[in-house]
């Protein structure tokens, strides 16, 4: 299967104080995503998840620069594209769903106008065809009575409905890839479940690939085929969701899974000691070693590279290949 998106050794750094302070927000991220596949990008706030996504769509803030690596999308190199060319790709080929639906909808334009825009520009649809398209899009995200609803404005809709409208906008340009950056954090649990079901439906109908950025492992378990765990700007473990949940190799993945409360289980949670590191002051060695329960002398001096575990399964840890003494997570059924 040809890869739809291939990110190789991507490095995106933020420069401040005239370039004297460098924050390596993304520092050597490699990802591959096939057609119609869903990958979950997991990590704590500040680990570089969002910067990775913004690098892909070319929407980095001015302080950030891609300093290395490349991004290949459908055979095209994105890092060298001009802003003009990126505009044709963004919305048409790659769409993004952001966290806050109120902030990503324009309060002054009707729902119709906002959903129609990508189809108008990227697919050249006009008049009746466009109206039908918008109606179908709203129907596909389960907005009741779309003919009425598309004449309304964002403030007339509830939070869950607004987020579904954002989903419809993302689909409007007929993208091959949707990047969803924590799309359900502001939603209630039942609304979140409805929304995730809608996204799954859309994906099954259109075969679009999804990058799901989240800190919620439950969402990954429900939605994704593969997952990539990020820590301090690097992907520390990457593989099939099932494998990583069953037998996580990197201590950080193990700790994350162990700190997740499970229904009907009141055993104490594994608490990762310490704080996530400050990316502006990273020392040598593995970034996780100060918090790692299995840290060895070499962890503080030399940084482990990506080590293969099985096909499409890698981890950045010196322990991989050696038996881990104990596990935070007992194998869940």
């Amino acid at each position: 299967m040809a890869a739809l998106l291939r990110v190789r050794e991507l490095k995106t750094h933020y420069f401040s104080f005239g370039g004297t302070r460098v924050v390596k927000a993304v520092d050597g991220v490699s990802l591959t995503l096939g057609k119609g596949e869903t990958i979950g990008l997991v990590g704590e706030s500040g680990c570089g998840k969002t910067t990775t996504c913004l690098s892909i769509v070319g929407l980095l803030p001015s302080a950030a620069r891609i300093v290395g690596g490349n991004i290949e999308f459908a055979g095209d190199e994105l890092t060298t594209k001009r802003p003009r060319e990126m505009r044709r790709i963004r919305g048409g080929q790659i769409a993004m769903i952001l966290q806050d639906p109120m902030a990503s909808l324009n309060p002054l334009f009707s729902i119709y106008r906002q959903v129609a825009e990508p189809a108008y520009y990227h697919q050249g649809m006009r008049s009746r065809l466009l109206r039908e398209r918008v109606k179908n899009l709203l129907r596909s995200v389960r907005i009741p009575s779309p003919e009425v609803r598309m004449r309304e404005y964002p403030h007339q809709m509830s939070g869950g409905m607004r987020q579904r409208v954002v989903g419809a906008i993302a689909m409007a340009g007929g993208p091959k890839l949707i990047i969803a950056d924590e799309p359900t954090t502001n939603l209630d649990v039942t609304i979140q479940a409805q929304y995730l079901d809608v996204l799954k439906d859309i994906q099954q109908q259109s075969g679009v690939a999804l990058v799901f950025v989240t800190h919620n492992l439950g969402i990954v378990a429900k939605m994704c085929d593969r997952m990539a765990v990020m820590y301090a700007g690097k992907i520390v473990e990457q593989g099939a969701v099932r494998d990583l949940f069953r037998d996580p190799k990197h201590p950080y993945t193990q700790a994350l899974l162990g700190s997740m409360p499970k229904l009907g289980n009141k055993e104490p949670l594994y608490a990762i000691p310490g704080q996530p590191p400050n990316l502006a002051q990273l020392g040598p060695g593995c970034a996780f070693h100060p918090r790692c329960a299995h840290a060895m002398p070499q962890c503080s001096t030399r940084e482990p590279d990506d080590r293969p575990i099985a096909a499409n399964w890698t981890a950045r840890c010196w322990l991989v290949g050696e038996p881990v003494r104990e596990r935070y997570v007992s194998a869940t059924a």
Binding site: E44, P261, T332
Partner: protein, 322 residues
């Protein structure tokens, strides 16, 4: 069970809704809390779970005496708190404390951590300066922070550490009940477990009671002994935490559980999808408030509101099915 520490009886809070500029006309009431009965025992954690707008926070405000109830009583240690005055009222305020969701806005950026924690002590006790310092160091130690941090300002701490400071402040006055209003939802995943374990540990050592408000089922179920499920101002089901996880009875509880995210990719629970969204509390549906979204709705559900009745020991549910 021993005598409850806190007892809410048929607690109600209606907010008036007005329209027009002058004269303002009342057009109705938002029944934010509409007949809530719950008890919290000493050293117990009661989880309160529900979607946004269901009245969780209003309930906590009523307990904290930030709002006066429209009807119903709150009893603390067997005493009606609405009639408390003077010393007695101060004692209640001292023994019932709160931790909010966002530790970035609940700590004053202009005060040193030591002063933040000492403030409730200055109000409620007559400790000398030295005794205050000693007590501040003591509670900081309790929540796992170094006593030296008392000199620092909140901006020097991460979210998890700030939440520890907020917990230290809540516990400083020999508190007996802490209202925890979504205390971990603003924190990073790896920090959440730290705070949850800390809260559990503090309860074991100090014997405080918690009212743990949340919307994440797994988190609430993990820390709570009993869970009350709230929908549009009413408690629809109340049960022991493990029993509720195993055997949710009310269709709304079942829906919440089926909407909960799996903890493993192979975990599949039966899907009970409820459609639509929470109706407005301004015009709640007649009869059972859940009936328009309920997959098991019967004709009587639209007419008669079900009463919460016991199904098993410590398990009550308000539904016509049972």
């Amino acid at each position: 069970m021993s005598a409850p520490l806190l007892e809410l009886q048929n607690l109600q809070k209606y907010f008036p809704v007005s329209t027009g500029v002058l004269p303002r006309r009342k057009i109705g009431w938002v029944k934010a809390v509409d007949g809530v009965d719950i008890t919290i025992g000493p050293g117990e954690t009661l989880g309160l779970i529900g979607e946004s707008g269901c009245g969780k926070t209003t309930t906590s405000k009523l307990i904290l005496l930030q709002e006066t109830p429209t009807a119903g009583t709150i009893r603390f240690d067997g005493e009606d708190v609405s009639v408390l005055e003077g010393q007695e009222l101060m004692r209640y305020r001292r023994e019932v404390q709160v931790v909010f969701q966002d530790p970035y806005s609940s700590l004053s950026p202009r005060m040193r951590v030591g002063d933040i924690i000492a403030e409730p002590l200055e109000i409620h006790t007559s400790l000398s300066r030295q005794q205050l310092q000693y007590r501040v160091a003591e509670v900081l130690d309790l929540v796992g922070l170094q006593p030296e941090v008392a000199r620092l300002f909140p901006h020097e701490f991460s979210g998890g550490q700030r939440q520890r400071i907020a917990i230290a402040r809540a516990l400083a006055t020999n508190t007996r009940l802490v209202v925890l209003d979504e205390p971990v939802s603003a924190l990073d995943v790896s920090i959440r477990a730290q705070i949850m374990n800390q809260l559990e540990h503090l309860q074991q050592t100090l014997g405080v009671s918690y009212l743990f408000i949340g919307h994440d089922l797994a988190t609430v179920a993990h820390i709570s002994h009993r869970i009350a499920v709230m929908y549009l101002g009413q408690i629809v089901e109340l049960a022991d935490s493990l029993e509720l996880c195993e055997k949710p009875l009310h269709p709304y509880t079942q829906a919440l559980f089926s909407a909960a995210l799996p903890s493993h990719p192979d975990e599949r629970h039966e899907r009970l999808t409820i459609t639509g969204e929470v109706p407005s509390a301004l015009n709640p549906p007649s009869g059972c408030r859940f009936h328009p979204r309920c997959p098991h709705a019967m004709p009587c559900c639209a007419i008669e509101a079900p009463v919460r009745k016991p199904i098993a020991a410590e398990h009550t549910v308000a539904c016509h099915l049972y």
